[in-house]
Amino acid sequence: MTSSSTKSTPTGTTQESKAAVGRRTFLKSASIASLSAAAIYASSCTDHNGNPIPDGTVDLGSGDVGILNYAYALEQLEAAFYTQIVATPYAGITSQELMVMTDLKNHEVAHRDFFKTAISAAAPSAIIPSLEVNFSAIDFTSRSSVLGAAKAFENLGVAAYNGAGKFLKTPVYLLLAGKIVSVEARHAAIIGTLLEGFNGQFTAGQVDANGLDKAMTFGEVLPVAQMYIKTKISGVNLPK
């Protein structure tokens, strides 16, 4: 994810976020209508020490719901990414690659919409809004830029779920995270084969000498995700 381009630098919101903005602005004064839904959402939040979280920052929250919001944020990022790829495929994309990208888009949209449904049902007042993404560092016309970013996003997702699982208190949420993380790992491996072919590199850098995949903490994952999410997000209240 090192290349950048000004030719194709989509920055935008999903349909949901536009709807969310609509609802929020309906409730708030017109003077803040230009702010994102996220900004308004977090305006009265505090962290666990009672310190205010800065205006415009989305607080993921605490406990299991906080972790579900964390996963929802990452799935929003992935879904937006593959939606963009399928809408504007890179130069020279093969039909096989387009099929993979379309499948990945569908899976990530399913994950995103699942979390939206699940969190809305479990904790309607705590669900984070749709986030605004920032893919300005990704050149969507370039195969290597797109697949490099895809590999990074999938591996980040796998490591995030691997690190978050032990903090979940509700068995059914742990199972759901497990159902999703293995699909993300499948994605990562297939992206690896698109980049490397079928050599021994398909897990290079991701699996250690004990045969273990990576696990990353909330604090390690969020700054990386934040580079691609315009909306400021805070994990300060997530379990430790």
């Binding site: 499948d103 569908n106 899976h107 949209v109 399913a110 994950h111 919409d113 699942f114 449904t117 699940a118 049902a121 796998v158 779920y161 691997n162 690190g163 699982g165 032990k166 903090f167 068995p171 059914v172 949420y173 742990l174 199972l175 759901l176 497990g178 159902k179 999703i180 993380v181 293995s182 699909v183 993300e184 790992a185 499948r186 994605h187 990562a188 491996a189 297939i190 690896g192 084969t193 079928f198 050599n199 021994g200 590199q201 398909f202 897990t203 991701q206 699996v207 000498a209 004990n210 045969g211 273990l212 995949d213 990576k214 696990a215």
Partner: protein
Amino acid sequence: MNLFELFAKIDELDPESGERLSFYNRRHILKNGAKATALAALPTLFSSVVNKAYGADLPAQTRGVLEYALTLEYLEADYYEKGVKSGIIPQNNYEVFSTISQHETAHVRLLEKTLGIAPDAMKPKFKYDAYPDVFTNYKTFLVVSQSFEDLGVRAYKNEAKNLMESPDLLQVALQIHAVEARHAAVVRSLRGQKGWIVGNGMENGMAPAVPAIYEGELNTEQGGVELAGKIAGQDKNTLSESFDEPLGRDQVLAIAKLFLA
């Protein structure tokens, strides 16, 4: 479930199983006495292989999960060790399987160390005669490899909830689980399939080789919500691909016992 119960379960699933496992043989010796005596003798039996400094401190449920996982890892490690030596893997795929083989052996050693037992102390004897050409026909080798990997993903996924009392080991299990999923995707791809489980998983020669491996994979109800019809533009097939499903211990063991000598 401790190892005793695990093997009792295999016995229950397959009453004709006889003496399949080296451990199991010792169990039968115990069985000749009164059952209560046999159970009472178990701690003595295990003390010869258990390193109390570490392994014996594990909560019983955690230990049961790890022993179950170790049984499956022994099978995978044995399979790839033989496969890599068989000479049937084409040169351009060789690194994939030597890498997978290293990972599975690493899983075995890590679980043994965590349980506090010596290398191969609990290793059963395996047989592959259910697939007689598995080490002479690369296509068969790939079918069985895919089966083991997709089955392993399902087995670990099911056990996560049983490790919640041991957070650090839960994380280790999740880290193994994801590696198995990476393996599964690449092997599926080598067979010309998608990396994710499509439909009932039985495409491209999987049926009837291993009929129970994908049971329940068509599920589209998640967290008590039927997702079909709720997500715009997504049909039931796409939704079932998006979520891998767990498989219970009894079902996994019923499949694994095909390979116990």
